[in-house]
Every structure is written in structure tokens, then in C-alpha cells.
Amino acid sequence: MNIIIALAYLLSSILFILGLRNLSSPETARRGNQLAMSAMLIAIIVTLTKNEILDFTYIIIGLIIGSAIGAIIARKIQMTAVPQMVALFNGLGGGASALVALAEYNRLAGELRIDVIISMVVSLFIGAITFTGSLVAFGKLQGLVRSAPVVFKGGRLLNILLFTLFLAMGIIVIINPANSTVLLIILAIALILGILFVMPIGGADMPVVISTLNSCSGLAAAATGFVLSNNILIICGALVGASGFILTRIMCKAMNRSIANIIFGSVGTISVNNNDNSKRRVINYTEEDASMMLEAAQTVIIIPGYGLAVAQAQFALQELVTMLISKGINVRYAIHPVAGRMPGHMNVLLAEANVSYDLLFDLGDINDDFRHTDVALVVGANDVVNPSARADAESPLYGMPILNADQARSVIICKRSLSPGFSGVDNELFYQKKTLMIFGDAKESINKMIKLLKT
């Protein structure tokens, strides 16, 4: 029986890996996700045949309640809110791992091998940090908690102290596994650390935070796998841990920050001195100017930012794009890696608005084309087109890869106001001669352009 279970877990692992492999192309991605689903189903069913399981009542109750809640959330959630949903689910995954560690501690009490107790401590610690950290991230993204960095004096010192305390408690419980109070202290430390880690991180850095927490939820599951000597948990946990790590690295690169810098830097609290800002004037253009310019163009690249989604203008934008394409104009979208609030978020928002994915281009694939482009249309984006990231070594954005909108022959920017982006840095591009600023609600502006282009 045990051999059959082990082989079924192997099959399940293979299906998980094949599922992830299928995510390498949008054509096969949906099948990939379905493969992963079937892998999960196999793992669950096989587990239920284990002879350790004596009572199915609570299992059935738990599965029904969990499935119902999960299904409702997944159906109701708006695509703009996917980042906070992923944050919340990360937290639940981490929390579940911590709970399993506690339950197993209680079940196996007295006969704990050293490797099992170490795994328990790790699983409990990472799981609990992921839990509270994710809840804070969820709160920030949902607007329940102030999204600006919350920093207090001595915060870093407190983190170090708590971490040292954790190490000490960890050693005590490893030496004397019967001491359950110490395990609860570890739990408390981890819960507090999770909050302290995420509170000082600003809204703009949330893509990095979610990716890191994603990685942590995987590692917590892997640690639980070591507690239970269960390979399927170890394999899946490792896969998720690796995935989250890669995404964290990509996001850090896209923002030109190190993970240490994000955790300890708390950008957004620094107020940048925009000394000459008040004296500079931009010329306020109208939708008429913009639509004429678009109509005369042969090539247009659109740069959407999160402001587009805030204004719910993606559907109007797609209507505009369809119209331009039907006029024979070459229109493409340029997507910055941090457009949106989690990795790849903007692509999902545009896919929802029926933008076909072959119009969506990554920064690396399209950036050289701007110099041959007639119009760059920037909607609700700011920092990702700020040329100071390229040229001005003084700028906090310096070194961040940006979309070279300023190299296009002309630039149209739809924006609410001149206010700076997340970074707090003024944008040189707004003041250039070839730039047409159109202030106002992005959706209204685009709808006006559509009307003008129709006539």
C-alpha cells in the first residue's frame, strides 16, 4: 500500500512539474493549470487512503467549507484586486503550514526526532511570518492599512532582537522538545516579525513583497514536508519557493533595488526636492490635438500604468486601439515589469479588456522600437517612463530600466495631474516640447478621443 501511495505521489509531482512547464506559453498555460489541479486532486485522494487516517468527518467538513469559500472568492474577485487576493492566499498557505506543524507537535509529543523538531520550528516560524506578513500586505493593497511605509525608531533593532530571541528559543526547544511553552513563544515572535517586516514597506514595493511571501509559503510547505517525511510536500514547496524567488529577483531588477534595500530602505518617506518645479509650466493640450496626432501616425506604442486600471479605462483604451488598427496604424502595447501591483498584473488587466496577447510586448522586446515610433501614448504611468532613470545619477530612480517613451517622435500623456509617481520624483518627460499633456480622467479623455476619431 505504501508503495502505491509513494508512486501516486510521484505521478502527482510529475504532473505538477509538467503543469508549470506548460505555463511557458499562453497557448498551453490553461492546460498547465489544469494539469496542476489534477496533480493536487491525486495527492489529496491518495492521502485519504493512508491508514493513519481514521476519521473522515472533520476532513469532509473542512474540505467543504474551504472549497466553498475559495470558490466564492475566486469567482467574485475583480482582476484589479488579484494582488491582494494572492497576498491573502499566500498567508493562508503559510498559516496552514504553521498549524500543521503545531498539530503534529501535539500528536507526536514525546517521540520527536531531532530533524523533525528542527523542521517543525522552521515550518512554524516561516509559516507564521508568511501569515501575518501576508495579512498586512493584503491590508495595504486593499486600502485597509495605510499603504505608505510605517517606520518607527528602533524598528530595525527590534527586528534583530526578536530574531535573536527566536534563534535562542529554537535551540532550547531542539534540546528539550517537550517544552511546549517555548514553541508558543516562537509562534508569537514569528507572528510579530511578519507584521514588522511588511509594515515599513511602501505600496510601490508590493510586487516584491508578494513575490517574497509567495516564496515563503512554498518554503513553509517544504518544511512541513520534512516534519511529515512527505516528498510531495517537499517537492511542491521547493517548486513554489524557487518560483517566488525568481519573481522576487525579477521585480527587484525591474525596480533597480536590492531586497535588503526594499526591506530597510522604505522609499516613499524621502521627500525629494523638486526645487524648480513651481516655475516650470507644461502646455495643456486637448483631446482634439491628441486624436489628430494619433490619426496622422503610422506607428503607435501604448504604455499603460496602474493609473489606467484605477480609472477603469482599459476597455475604452482597447476600443481606441481597435479603431486605430482598423485605420491601418500599427499599434502595440509596451508593458513594464512593474506596471500594476504584482508581477505581470497589467497583462491580466489588458487580457480582461480583450486585448490579444500578441499586442503585448515586454520592455526588452520593444524598447529599441521607440525611436522609430511616431507616437508613444502613456496612460496612467509615470516613473516607468521617467528619463531621469537613465540620465540623472542623482535621481532615486537612476538605474531603473525604463520604457524609452521619450525617444518617440511625439509623446501623449494622459494623467490626472502633474503629481509625481510612487518614487516622488518629478518627471522630465512632462516638460519636453514633443510632449502633449492631457490632464483629466483617463477614461473620459480616451472616450473623447474615440468620439473625435469616429467623425
Binding site: 493536487m40 475559495g70 492566499f89 499566500n90 498557505g93 511542491c236 525568481i246 480583450n354 496577447y357
Partner: protein, 97 residues
């Protein structure tokens, strides 16, 4: 005992390499579905939760296990379903020219 542990460590390390190789091939276009999908996969801890609650060891273990089953199931079901919803939206347009 220790041999089993060693095998687990092997499995863990090799799986991380497989993860790296596989995930680097996922294009940025699909990073959000990737994350919500892997998020659902991390709900595999549900397997552990099932054992904890089903073993019926003590009330405490059962309560902790039940809680774990509920939240891990939310993670799994919600994660996979929302990923499916997203991937359904990714469509290729008819290419002109």
C-alpha cells in the same frame, strides 16, 4: 532514519533546481497566473493537514488540523480557480498582414 532524511534533502535540492529551470521559461506575460498558480500549489500543505485532522489523536490536534484543512483548501481551490479564470482571458487576436 537519517538515511530517509538525507533522501528528503536530495529531493528538496533537486526540486529547487527543477523549479528554477521551469520557472525561468515562463514569460513575463504570464507572471500573475504563474504566481496565483504556484500559490495554489503551495496549498499542498493540505495533505499534511488531512493527516493531522484524520488521525484523530486529540481534540487539540483535530481542531488545529481542521483549521489547517479549511484555510489550505481555500488556498488550493481559490488559487486554481482564479488562475483558470485569468488564463481563459488570454486570447490571441487574428493577425493581420
Amino acid at each position: 532514519m537519517t538515511e530517509a532524511l538525507l533522501v528528503s534533502v536530495y529531493v528538496f535540492v533537486l526540486a529547487i533546481f527543477v523549479g528554477f529551470e521551469t520557472i525561468t521559461k515562463v514569460p513575463p506575460l504570464l507572471h500573475t497566473p504563474l504566481m496565483s498558480g504556484t500559490n495554489a500549489i503551495s496549498g499542498i500543505t493540505l495533505v499534511g493537514a488531512l493527516i493531522s485532522v484524520g488521525a484523530g489523536h486529540s481534540t487539540l490536534s483535530t481542531v488545529l488540523g481542521l483549521l489547517a484543512v479549511i484555510i489550505a483548501t481555500i488556498n488550493v481551490v481559490g488559487g486554481f480557480m482564479v488562475t483558470d479564470r485569468m488564463l481563459e482571458m488570454f486570447k490571441k487576436g487574428k493577425k493581420k498582414n
